[in-house]
């Protein structure tokens, strides 16, 4: 029998029982739709995490001054004052280091005319903005020369703009912190919340030296941001940095580090892995419903074979070979699962679009999830259709013909 004739036969048999065919396919439709929607949610979450990580700089390391131990008393992170600008300069020499940005932090009450706002004033060098990949919305950065001169200038984040200036233009105005007056030379673009939820735009940046000398009266620094050439380098340079700084701080082997290294790349990797696991988990839960859909197909096909035993007997008496009967039933199962797959894909995309529109979820329908879901649907059709089809094709003609 030709393939086309077999296909027509299968379609016609299904068409005779439209309602039953639809209900049978429904299991696959729901399964495929669930896989596509769930994977879309997972992929959306992955994308969101990736973009948040990007905003933090995923190849970066942060070095902060650490704790000290004196006669058994150990203090917390940031309490030692041993990290120096010279340490930062020394790190530049390490292979795999692209940029180095030393910084100091302070919290102040910033004032502009009648308003005031509690925020942090961080002292940095122009390189900091390159390391963070953080462009300006307007104005310009302070220069290396202004850092050398401890000039009274600053660059501010969007939250500070909103809280201190409202609708008046900030550029060129002067902000007061304690007794220090700084002119606003630049406004940064909004960066949004960090992966930890803190507002990255609620900050004022002034030259490192300005904050050190004129605001805090210190000579040490609080931290250094190091940008590595790539993700792998970020991991490999950690021990080198450790060794170099220990040497520079003349720490004996029995002494603890007086600094801490935080590897953002490590964090990024953890977050990405967990997002991926989340994605797979959602996908596999949805796959179970696809499997259940397949069992539904098998169930109905088995009933159908029994109901149509006499028809099978007649066809065999008229010359149907085993494979003719096998293909007739297998094609029915494949059409059910294939059509169910197509409808399921449309339903899944619709579901994902609805979620994107009416919920907080970020969704992203991926091509591979569509291909995987449709492929699985067909596989399910073959797997669960084969048993009933084999059963039909192995009936003995005379017994099938006599079946009541």
């Amino acid at each position: 029998m030709s393939a086309l004739a077999a296909l027509q036969l299968a379609v016609r048999a299904l068409w005779r029982n439209k309602m039953r065919a639809l209900l049978t396919a429904l299991g696959v439709i729901i399964g495929v739709a669930a896989v596509i929607t769930m994977v879309a949610i997972g992929a959306g979450a992955q994308k969101r995490i990736a973009s948040q990580l990007d905003s933090m700089g995923t190849n970066n390391l942060t070095i902060r001054s650490g704790s000290s131990a004196h006669g058994g008393v150990r203090t917390g992170v940031g309490t030692t004052h041993t990290l120096m600008l010279a340490d930062a300069e020394a790190l530049r020499e390490l292979p795999g280091v692209v940029a180095v940005a030393p910084n100091v932090r302070s919290s102040v009450q910033a004032r502009f005319r009648g308003t005031n706002w509690g925020t942090s004033v961080d002292g940095v060098t122009p390189e900091f903005f390159a390391v963070r990949d953080w462009p300006l919305a307007e104005g310009e950065l302070f220069t290396a020369r202004e850092v050398a001169l401890a000039a009274p200038v600053c660059v501010i984040g969007q939250t500070v703009v909103k809280e201190l200036f409202g609708l008046t233009p900030a550029l060129g105005e002067t902000i007061l912190f304690k007794s220090l007056a700084c002119r606003v030379v630049g406004v940064l673009v909004a960066k949004g919340a960090s992966a930890f939820g803190s507002d990255q735009d609620d900050v004022i940046y002034a030259p490192l030296t300005t904050v050190q000398r004129n605001l805090l009266g210190i000579t040490y620094i609080n931290g250094i941001e190091v940008q590595a050439a790539n993700r792998a380098a970020a991991f490999s340079i950690v021990p080198e940095i450790k060794k170099l700084i220990r040497q520079r701080h003349r720490l004996r082997d029995d002494q603890e580090d007086d600094f801490r290294i935080f590897n953002r790349a490590e964090l990024a990797q953890t977050a990405e892995t967990s997002a991926q696991v989340f994605s797979w988990l959602l996908g596999s839960i949805a796959s179970v419903s696809l499997l259940v859909g397949g069992i539904g197909i098998m169930n109905i096909m088995l009933v159908s074979v029994t109901e149509r035993t006499r028809e099978i007997g007649i066809r065999m008496a008229l010359g149907a070979r085993r494979n003719d009967i096998l293909w007739q039933f297998l094609l029915e199962a494949l059409i059910l699962s294939g059509a169910g797959g197509v409808i399921g894909i449309l339903a899944g995309m619709g579901g994902a679009a609805a979620l994107a529109k009416f919920s907080e979820f970020q969704v992203s329908v991926t091509m591979w999830s569509i291909i995987m879901a449709f492929g699985s649907a067909l596989l399910v059709g073959v797997f669960f259709g084969l048993h009933p089809a084999r059963k039909a094709s192995h009936l003995r003609p005379i017994e099938a013909l006599r079946y009541e």
């Binding site: 029998m1 066809r315 065999m316 008496a317 008229l318 010359g319 149907a320 070979r321």
Partner: protein, 225 residues
């Protein structure tokens, strides 16, 4: 001498039902020549249908030999037997055995479908045969829209569509009134005489058996002569 279309040598058939063994055929020897019209008679349960099913390659003997046009049927596998049923044999059953909810013309097309005949040719040939059995006006009727006699004509058209050499009819008029029976018998006789189709027919009624050239009587699984 020409080769017989059916040659059987000491064919035995057993059925096992709930542990009880029924010896349905007890050594059948049979020769039927091409072009013959043979009637098989005998009391109920004597093994007529069993014999017919074996001749029709729907079932296989438990022992003995069976050659169809010289080919050894007992050595064939299921697909070869299916091919034989498709090309060499035509069946007419007492209960018609048409596919339900399928039009007359599509029913007649089924053997052509399994013979790999193309769509257009299938339709043409099926129409031709339905016209021949007098159902040219009922091509698209489904079995439940046809009378018993009409259904048996559809079955007859289906049996003949692949131009078989041998037509097997198991009580073809068993479910029909006498007037309709005569019509069907006329068709069978015409086929035998005009087209040279060999016909084997099981019947209970002696006056129907008179249509045949030869009469075989089966009793308790053996042929009387």
């Amino acid at each position: 001498m020409a080769e017989p279309i059916i040659r059987m040598e000491s064919v035995h058939k057993y059925y096992a039902l709930d542990g009880v063994r029924v010896h349905a055929l007890r050594g059948i020897d049979l020769n039927v020549m091409p072009g013959e019209f043979v009637a098989i008679m005998g009391p109920s349960g004597s093994g007529k249908s069993t014999l017919m099913n074996i001749i029709g390659c729907l079932d296989v003997p438990d022992s003995g030999g069976y050659w169809l046009s010289g080919a050894d049927v007992t050595r064939m596998n299921v697909d070869e037997l299916a091919g034989l049923r498709n090309r060499a044999l035509g069946f007419v059953f007492q209960g018609f055995n048409l596919l339900a909810r399928t039009s007359a013309v599509e029913n007649v097309e089924v053997p052509l479908l399994y013979a790999g005949v193309g769509r257009v040719q299938r339709r043409t040939r099926a129409r031709e045969l339905l016209q021949r059995v007098g159902l040219g006006e009922r091509l698209n009727h489904t079995p439940n829209q046809l009378s018993g006699g009409q259904q048996q004509r559809v079955a007859l058209a289906r049996a003949l569509v692949n131009r078989p050499a041998l037509l097997l009819a198991d009580e073809p008029t068993g479910n029909l009134d006498s007037a309709t029976s005569v019509e069907i018998l006329d068709l069978l006789t015409e086929l035998n005489q005009k087209d040279g189709v060999t016909v084997l027919m099981i019947t209970h009624e002696p006056d129907i058996a008179t249509r045949a050239q030869r009469k075989l009587v089966l009793r308790d699984g053996t042929l009387e002569s």
